[in-house]
Symmetry: C2
Subunit: 231 residues, 2 copies
DNA sequence: ACGGGCTTGTGAAAGGGTGCACAAAGTGGG
DNA sequence: CCCACTTTGTGCACCCTTTCACAAGCCCGT
């Protein structure tokens, strides 16, 4: 590394840090509601379930918002993290696929306090179209492009069956949506620059199963764990 | 570091690899249904959305199941990964918190093909108890310990409101559940040895918002992206 | 039987993330 | 005003993960 690097990168926040900021934010908001004025890295780290050094390093990427000997001012930090995460503006969200999960998401009120506005619910099933879910009328998927354009949707949520997901993603992208949250169990193919995050229930369960098996195998005394058989 | 470490660990599969195995498994199962007999690392990597070298290294942790010059036998690999993930046995799952999300999960039939059996649905609301959801009768949360014990539940899913989650987690652990999948937006406190995975919708959205903001800021020409305002 | 052509398995290098430990910097009491 | 105490911000060493690049190994046509 050259010894001269005045600024590492314009606002280069590591991915791992970004992934933790929402956790810190939530903990801070809880403190805020309780009226706590300041918090130490130690206390906040505890609440967020991380190491305090890691927390300090994470926050240092946003700037020096702490006071040595005192800690961090809760209110100020909430504001800074919110700004950094882009929560000072509202993001319009469209959900495609109004099955059980889509409905659950639509009804999940406080999308992390605020910052997100569900603007549209779309489905391919004509029987679904026209129904009211979470005080929104379900539209037909054919109107996707129109809805994205007219309501300024910038985040798309996909809760369709696996088979439909790729097509929906492609349409989202073509319509100008740059951020996609995918609940369908498929790997989406999108052009560079489009941000896709995946939430996959069965993958999580399978990872749990792996560790559970590992535990059961290593354990002589199978505590309260059940029905384990050799293969 | 001492220079002597004969065996890294008995069957030490890296976490990052474990997290990808379910993705490979799904891709392989799709190939299997299409009747494909063998697949190259290149093709499988493409389907799984990863680099082929990474895929080969991942698979090499399970053993040498490929044939040079040919690829991997699909059927065989499906079996090996399933066994490694512990999917050759059935895991009993209990879901606590039968709101919108809990219902959605209960109705989400094929939990990654199979390997998981939803054995119980529990809720604290007396109005909920007794209802049938996904052909199971909702039980009262007071019966948690009894249900876990008698039905051999080893994986607990928490879809309660945030306030209730910690208490449920503690009861799960005390009842002998070693694996918890938490959908409630709180950091769970559990003893060592208990495995908790978190799925948090609003965190995912916030991460997307961060990148979306970043994109919008860096972009001179805001392609089809909408309503962006300076702060 | 042998050589050309693929594809795996893996050393080695590079990159990113984590956590320790401590200097720097602030507070408050005497 | 100074000193003891607290807490932040960060240099550094370690570890995990990713990626490249290539030798080793296997198949098939001749």
């Amino acid at each position: 590394m050259t010894s001269r690097t005045p600024r590492p990168r314009e606002r280069g926040i590591p991915e791992a840090t970004v992934a933790r900021l929402p956790v810190y934010l939530r903990a801070l908001q809880a403190l805020q509601e309780r009226g706590t004025p300041t918090v130490s890295s130690e206390a906040l780290a505890e609440a967020a379930g991380v190491n305090s050094a890691k927390l300090r390093k994470d926050l240092s990427h946003l700037g020096s918002y702490g006071t040595r000997g005192v800690g961090y001012e809760v209110e100020h930090l909430v504001h800074q993290i919110s700004r950094e995460l882009g929560l000072t503006q509202d993001w319009a969200v469209a959900i495609v696929g109004i099955g059980n999960l889509g409905r659950a998401l639509a009804n999940y009120g406080g999308f992390g306090t605020r910052g997100f506005r569900i603007e549209a619910l779309l489905d391919a099933d004509p029987a679904m179209v026209g129904q009211r879910v979470a005080s929104l009328e379900v539209g037909h998927i054919d109107s996707l492009e129109e809805v994205v354009g007219s309501r300024g949707v910038s985040i798309g949520v996909i809760t369709t069956p696996a088979e439909a997901a790729q097509a929906v993603a492609t349409r989202f992208v073509e319509a100008g949506v740059g951020s996609i949250l995918n609940f369908a169990p498929v790997v989406l193919n999108v052009p560079d620059g489009v941000d896709v995050r995946k939430v996959d229930l069965s993958i999580e369960l399978q990872i749990l199963a792996f560790h559970a098996q590992r535990r059961a195998a290593g354990d002589g005394q199978v505590a309260a764990a059940p029905g384990l058989e050799l293969t």
